[in-house]
């Protein structure tokens, strides 16, 4: 961005102004502008282009292209075997891609692997721990390999972050799965990486811990770049700024969780529950303008109404139901959940449902 700036100042080179003064004004102005640019333009931390990886003849990922900026939490969503872990392994410098390029913090993952590895914190799917070491010993080992300055203070801080202070002296082998996961997370955070790559960070944790870890990730995500994979959709919905759904090694869709929902929900759907018979209710609602489809609900007296786009038929339905002498018990819209979208997108030519 910055190299275009000198052209912007060509008009400021006044003919009569002394040379030195012009230079210094120019320099000051430029510095301010560069600073402003840096603040306003989101720096791209992960840039992936046409990334492909073959295991033998089998393609794990094919032509992935995406990016992530500073302060962004990018969710990697997909069924098992979709290529999430492979992509992360390439980004962390564990393995090179078959083709395509990936840059992390501006460094190429193949040519400048060490620079990339210095700037990335990585929590693999199987948490890599040495069971016969204590938590502190383990962090000291990793910290010294990563040349962390003021290591003792950092370890203390990071243990507090993942709330493990009380187990600092315990052997990792004696810790529960949830605690081990947190040790792994502590390891990934230890060197204050610019990019954090987490492969299913909440797997194996209990609900309370999951909430804690998510909160932690969100906090970190404010100032760093986080790439996390998950197959729990509500997690992606809660934590991520942007979701990337990947299936069979290809990106199926990329958007914010909110947009995804809105975009794929299409027409609005309503649930209508009355105390009357379903068939009767369905017959009544089918005739209303703005109603596209009426389906039987789960219980007697319950139907699911699909409206044509842009029509709010709720007042009409309420009126008609009451006019028909039925007791309206419930009338509520149902959003399409990310689960539905996920299944819809990742299901490849699913067999048509067999009607019994």
């Amino acid at each position: 961005m910055t190299w275009v700036l000198p052209f912007l100042y060509s008009d400021r080179r006044g003919k009569y102004a002394p040379k030195e003064a012009v230079k210094s004004t120019y320099r000051r102005q430029r510095a301010v502008d560069v600073l402003f640019l840096r603040l306003s333009v989101k720096q791209v931390m992960i840039q992936v282009e046409g990334l492909t990886k073959y295991y033998g003849d089998h393609p794990a990922i094919v032509g992935l292209t995406f990016h992530a900026g500073v302060g962004e939490i990018l969710g990697f969503l997909g069924p098992n075997g979709a290529g999430k872990t492979t992509t992360m392994r390439i980004l962390t410098g564990y393995m090179p891609p078959s083709s395509g390029t990936a840059r992390v913090a501006g460094y190429d993952v193949v040519d400048q692997s060490l620079e990339v590895r210095r700037r990335v914190g990585y929590l693999p799917e199987t948490v890599p721990l040495y069971p016969e070491m204590s938590v502190v010993e383990y962090l000291e080992f990793m910290g010294s390999l990563r040349r962390v300055k003021k290591l003792d203070e950092r370890i203390e801080a990071v243990l507090e972050e993942v709330s493990l202070e009380e187990r600092a002296g315990s052997f990792i082998g004696n810790l529960s799965k949830g605690l081990r996961q947190r040790v792994g997370l502590a390891q990934a955070l230890l060197h204050e990486p610019e990019v954090l790559i987490l492969d299913e960070p909440t797997i194996g944790l209990d609900p309370a811990q999951i909430i804690e870890v998510r909160k932690l990730i969100q906090e970190i995500g404010r100032s760093r770049t986080v790439l996390l994979s998950t197959h729990i959709l509500s997690e992606a919905q809660q934590v991520c700024d942007r979701v990337l759904i990947i299936n069979h090694g290809e990106i199926v869709v990329e958007d914010s969780p909110g947009n995804l929902q809105a975009q794929l929900a299409g027409a609005e759907r309503l649930i209508v529950v009355t105390a009357s018979e379903t068939a009767e209710l369905a017959r009544l609602l089918e005739r209303l303008p703005g109603v596209a489809e009426v389906k039987q609900g789960m219980n007697e007296g319950e139907v699911q109404v699909t409206c044509t786009a842009g029509n709010d038929v709720r007042p009409l339905i309420a009126r008609k139901v009451v006019e028909a002498g039925m007791d309206l018990l419930e009338l509520r819209p149902v959003g399409v959940s990310l689960e539905d979208i996920f299944l819809q997108l990742t299901r490849e030519e699913a067999a048509p449902p067999v009607e019994a």
Binding site: Y55, R117, P128, F141, M142, L145, R146, R147
Partner: protein
């Protein structure tokens, strides 16, 4: 270079909390002590043997043939199986630093074990008059250290190839045994047997250093074989990334 040291010191400390290392150390001292006792016993009974440092070092070398694969088997195979190799390979550490660090840690541990065997020549020296041949002792121990470094490097190389420590143990043992007995082919006159003879791990040791002859080709043989094994080991770690 600092990474090598960090990995080596972790590995070194690791040995002292793992049961394998204590089992290796205990068996070495047990066998060595027994043989030492028997030797001294027969010497005192008036047989013709003239005890020097070799009554300790001869059996020690044979024990090390089995001990080194046991010490090196888990070095990389275990890391690979546990998934911790992913941790090391995504840390800012070069592949060769991992291999050399592992080797150095094992080497340090074995040196500690070997250092304690000095106690036998010391006892021997006190018992005999005018004492044992110090030159042979020093030369033989130097040879032992060189031999050890080579055997450990081969062990590390094999460990890098496997995910299962037991497989690494047996393959390393087999390779060391082949290098052990290949010397017996060297008694012939042909070029082939000469090559076989010069490849032999123990002939190099027993024929020269063990007898108090320190020659440059022998030292170079051990050092270059060590380096070669470590280079191959690094290549194997790197090739794992490409799979």
């Amino acid at each position: 270079m600092r990474n090598v040291w960090i990995i080596a010191s972790r590995e070194f400390r690791q040995y002292f909390i793992s049961p394998v290392a204590y089992a290796v150390a205990a068996s070495i001292y047990l066998i060595l002590g027994g043989i030492f006792f028997i030797n001294i016993y027969f010497a005192i009974r008036g047989s013709q043997i003239d005890p020097d440092g070799r009554i300790v070092l001869g059996p020690l070398v044979t024990i090390l043939l089995f001990a080194t694969p046991a010490v090196t088997m888990r070095l990389l195979a275990e890391e690979h199986r546990m998934g911790t190799l992913e941790l090391l390979l995504t840390a800012p550490v070069r592949d060769w630093e991992v291999i050399v660090g592992k080797w150095l840690g094992a080497f340090g541990f074995m040196l500690v074990i070997v250092a304690f065997t000095w106690v036998y020549p010391y006892i021997l020296n006190r018992m005999t008059d005018p004492g044992i041949d110090q030159g042979i002792l020093v030369s033989a121990y130097l040879g032992l250290v060189l031999l050890l470094s080579t055997m450990l490097a081969i062990g590390v190389l094999i460990s890098a190839m496997f995910k299962n420590p037991m497989a690494a143990f047996f393959v390393a043992l087999a390779i060391l045994l082949v290098l052990w007995i290949v010397g017996s082919l060297g008694s012939g006159a042909g070029v082939g047997s000469q090559i076989a003879g010069s490849l032999s791990l123990v002939d190099r040791y027993y024929n020269n250093l063990y007898r108090g002859i320190i020659s440059l080709p022998d030292v170079l043989y051990f050092v270059s074989l060590t380096i070669l094994a470590l280079v191959f080991g690094s290549q194997i770690v790197e090739s794992r990334r490409w799979r």
